[in-house]
């Protein structure tokens, strides 16, 4: 071990924090220091351990932004850890209507044996059609053995034959339901054109809502931060960057982009106006439309206003978007005359009528005619998981399978609240009717539903109607505080595991996620918890769940499924801590839709016509008034052009967090560097701040008909007038937990968002269609209690 004690002490703030948390006795100076590799959504790292405590963390390989990795020390030793199993008091006492006390009362510590028996009793009592697997596809960590979504699904499918799941996801619910029929691929998780092709060919790079630098910090797999190196090349290239966004993003600043501060939720109007202009000036690519698309003739009457009397001209769009007509024309001219890549994002489709957004970009890109050319066309995942990195194309480790779920009932992600409050209701959904199930039991592992679900006040009312709410997590998250039974889970640093193939797109690394330290309390690994529950169901279920193997045997089995295992033994991999695949040279030449462009007959898209569906008959046949057969501008229920602005004049956006992964890392020291008086910041334009008498650093109340919350004001020109932004993910905390609809005291924006769906088609979430008002908080307020433990009654 070459690293010295002195070097650690000279290291990071994190190291100081960790040392402060340990008892630095004199003997420690002579204790050996172990260097142990692992990986996380924030990147791969080595933990340095002395006397059973983590004293420092350093990234594996190059990482210019290691703060989130360093925060793992604080996270692991957080006071918010769940130490023992607990049961909510009145639930334990089986008092009538005790569900109404969720989130309001104390927890009683119980033994693991008692907790397991209680969980299994409730699961046995509840029909599988009434069990909601609330773990959904959460992002707890990238380890394959303890991966909560898979374990939860596997467990329910084995012991109950299934459970109710959500349909779609919270990130891209609208796009997932439209892109397949429009372009024959879901696109949002698909391999992107390689950075090398963009750097060599792209002249105009449009970031339509995409904040590449910010959101690529993290990954669904283990983040590799390689995009940071590419972004330096981007910045130094001759590419012109355009940022169409109400916010001047971190990436826009880095690339010195021209910013078009459009009104939120009006992007489709701007796209249509560009298309209208390109058509009327005959500048669009007619041959591309003819050869590669289907249904342009059915779209044209709408575009030109022959169908509805409203030509979608730049002048029309100016009134909606507040982007000058001259700028719309200028941009259309620029895009069509240069190799242009339009990098869309996901948050625009998390809005009312969000189905239209990516379809709009695809249709516009079709008229520009560069789809499938190197560095041209559209891209919907350049901001995610290292999008743009060339792929190794190798197989990663295996993992548990969930098996078949025999429950037919599903809940579209936006309809969770409605399901809990109005079971049995029938809704439209992608051309069919869907009956919402009657949920009695909800089980959440490694996810923070009282955070990622829109309209938290409505959600809490729904949660209080459940018979049973079980939460399994390492931390007392807001969801854990609402639970009846709380099961403490270990963190990734307290157990052995093996990572997903990482990063999500490069797929060139597998990491040994080694146990770094022991859990000092009674927390158990997620895998062990489900194994215990399966055992309580019966020996048959236990054997099926565990396959009769130990964790290390599973890890080895998973590794053996990878291509790496053909040449590198498991022992060698485990000792080294990672393996790396070479990226083939050919992968750097990858161009999305390149084959289709070269030969659309030989490589047709998997759409109805084999071409891009500018018009989709299937969608038209749904017969919905809020979702048509071609891209359409629909006025959102809440936007800056609506009458509601008289009451709520500001549009609230809740973009991804800069220093969190959703709710992860809200409970660490990094949060202290950006929170305002312990609350999440709200970005507000200086003109708005002046209008409402708000100064930088003030605590302000933001409110609408759905709720109220306190945040800290950050007055900045980085956001356009009329728009405010609170980053998603901070831990929800009510000012007074004892009353309903209490003012949010931490700044969790889903107190204000709506559970309104995108449309009757995708029924996806709409977190970015929100109007609010704002005022300065006067007088004293109670501290934010988000990271305080609930009252615990120890045995």
């Amino acid at each position: 071990m070459s690293i010295s004690r002195r070097k650690f002490l000279q290291g990071s703030v994190a190291a100081t924090v960790a040392l402060g948390a340990t008892s630095a006795g004199a003997t420690q100076l002579f204790s050996p220091i172990k260097k142990i590799p692992t990986g996380s959504h924030f990147g791969a790292f080595y933990a340095y351990v002395q006397d059973g405590k983590i004293i420092d963390i350093e990234p594996q390989g190059k990482d210019s932004r290691p703060a989130m990795i360093k925060a793992w020390i604080d996270r692991n030793y957080s006071k918010t850890r769940i130490k023992y199993p607990y049961v909510r008091k009145s639930f334990l006492e089986n008092r009538p209507n005790n569900g109404l006390l969720r989130g309001k009362e104390e927890f009683v510590r119980v033994s693991w044996d008692k907790a397991v028996k209680l969980v299994v009793k409730k699961l046995k009592e509840t029909p599988r059609e009434s069990i909601y697997n609330g773990t959904t596809d959460g992002w707890a960590h990238p380890g394959l053995v303890n991966y909560c979504p898979t374990l939860a699904g596997r467990f329910f499918n084995i012991v109950k034959g299934g459970s109710v799941n959500i349909d779609g996801d919270f990130s891209v619910g609208a796009a997932l339901r439209t892109n397949p029929d429009v372009v024959g691929d879901i696109e949002v998780y698909s391999l992107q054109t390689a950075h090398e092709q963009i750097l060599a060919n792209t002249e105009v790079y449009v970031m339509w809502g995409a904040d590449l630098f910010k959101t690529n910090k993290i990954d669904f797999a283990v983040a590799n931060r390689k995009n940071d190196e590419y972004y330096i090349k981007y910045r130094n290239s001759k590419m012109k960057f355009i940022c169409i966004d109400p916010i001047k993003t971190e990436t826009a600043k880095m690339f010195n982009a021209e910013c078009i501060h459009i009104r939120p939720n009006t992007d489709v109007a701007m796209m249509l106006a560009m298309m209208n202009y390109l058509y009327n000036t005959k500048k669009y690519n007619k041959s591309f439309i003819k050869k590669y698309t289907d249904g342009f003739d059915k779209f044209l009457p709408y575009l030109l206003g022959k169908a509805d009397g409203v030509p979608k001209t730049p002048e029309w769009a100016e009134k909606i978007t507040e982007v000058p007509a001259s700028k719309i024309k200028e941009l259309a001219d620029l895009f069509v005359s240069h190799r242009t890549l339009i990098a869309g994002n996901w948050s625009m489709q998390r809005a009312h009528h969000g189905e239209q957004v990516q379809w709009g970009i695809i249709t516009l890109a079709s008229m520009i005619g560069q789809i499938g050319l190197p560095g041209g066309g559209f891209a919907f995942s350049m901001h995610y998981g290292g999008g743009g990195q060339a792929s190794a194309g190798k197989a990663g480790p295996g993992g548990f399978s969930q098996g078949r779920n025999r429950v037919d009932a599903i809940i579209p992600a936006s309809r969770i609240n409605e399901t809990l409050l109005h079971p049995g209701r029938v809704i439209n959904f992608m051309g069919s009717k869907l009956k919402l199930p009657h949920i009695k039991l909800m089980y959440v592992a490694g996810a923070n539903n009282v955070g990622h679900q829109q309209d938290i006040n409505e959600l809490i009312k729904g949660l209080r109607k459940l018979d049973t709410l079980i939460v399994q997590d390492p931390w007392w998250t807001p969801t854990a505080k609402m639970a009846d039974i709380v099961l403490p889970a270990t963190t990734i640093l307290e157990r052995n595991d093996i990572s997903l193939l990482s990063g999500s797109y490069s797929g060139d690394k597998i990491y040994a996620m080694k146990k770094v330290v022991d859990n000092p309390y009674e927390a158990k690994d997620d895998y062990e918890i489900y194994s215990l529950l399966a055992k309580e169901f019966g020996e048959k279920e236990y054997k099926k769940f565990t396959k009769g193997k130990t964790v290390m045997e599973h890890i080895k089995d998973f590794y053996e499924e990878s291509d790496a295992a053909k040449t590198i033994s498991f022992e060698e991999f485990w000792n080294k801590g990672y393996i790396e695949y070479q990226i083939p040279k050919e992968a750097y030449k990858y161009v999305r839709q390149g084959d289709f462009r070269k030969d659309p007959i030989k490589y047709p898209l998997k759409t109805e016509s084999g071409k891009i569906q500018i018009f989709c008959k299937k969608f038209a046949d749904f017969g919905y008034n809020d979702f048509k057969g071609h891209v359409t501008w629909f006025e959102p229920a809440e936007w800056l052009g609506s009458k509601l602005t008289k009451k709520y004049p500001l549009h609230l956006l809740s973009p991804h967090a800069t220093y969190r992964k959703h709710s992860q890392l809200d409970n660490v020291w990094i949060a202290d560097t950006y929170k305002i008086k312990g609350r999440e910041p709200i970005r507000i334009n200086p003109k708005d701040a002046k209008k409402y008498g708000i100064s930088h650093g003030d605590l302000v109340e933001v409110y609408n008909d759905r709720g109220r919350l306190i945040v800290g004001a950050v007055v900045t020109d980085d956001i356009r007038e009329g728009v405010v932004a609170i980053e998603e993910g901070t831990w929800y905390s009510p000012e007074n937990p004892m009353i309903d609809n209490s003012r949010g005291n931490s700044g969790q924006p889903n107190v204000l968002t709506s559970s309104r769906p995108t449309s009757q088609a995708a029924q996806a979430c709409t977190a970015n269609t929100v109007l609010v008002a704002i005022k300065k908080v006067e007088g004293e307020v109670v501290p934010n209690m988000a990271h305080q433990l609930p009252k615990l009654i120890e045995m």
């Binding site: 697997n133 596809d137 394959l144 991966y147 979504p149 898979t150 699904g153 596997r154 799941n165 349909d167 397949p180 029929d181 024959g184 691929d185 879901i186 696109e187 998780y189 698909s190 391999l191 792929s391 194309g393 190798k394 197989a395 990663g396 295996g398 993992g399 548990f400 399978s401 969930q402 098996g403 078949r404 779920n405 025999r406 037919d408 599903i410 069919s432 009717k433 997903l500 998997k606 759409t607 109805e608």
Partner: protein
Amino acid sequence: MKNIKIFFIVALFVSFGWSSSFVYIEKGIKLPLPDEGVVVYSGTPVKIISKDKNRVKVRIAGYIGKKDKKSLYATKNRKLLFATVKKSALIHKIDKDRGELKILLPAKNITNDQDEAWESGSDLFYDKCTKCHHAKIVKNHTMAEWNVLFNSMKYKAKTNKMQSAEILRFLRAFSKDGILRESD
């Protein structure tokens, strides 16, 4: 709506004279029968005409390929293959769209158990496609939708060509516009 779908599937079986027997192939999706000049596909529903210890004479009915008249498909969309023949004369027309084929199959390649006939594709799907997320309900999506969903995600599942073919065949057969429903 549910009743209509079940009626549709029952109607398919009645109109084609399928019984509850299926082609079973232990490995892969194709069963070449060189003597017959026929290739039959796994899971294809058949009507047993006669049988002895080693062989079973079956009738396979389906939609004749639009361009190539040497293929029989499960449904009008011609996405799920039942059989291909060397000579189109082997397929006898039932009407302008549909045809039938009578062939001898090894007895070991016939099963009355639907689950057994489709086990390989089903197992592969629920194994390979549920490691990162839960499986979508197969009958909630059409054959065309499954074609997109599976092909979008298969590079993450890292399935080989044969596994992909088996999974897609299973998904098509049990899809919204497919011919079968998964057993409870």
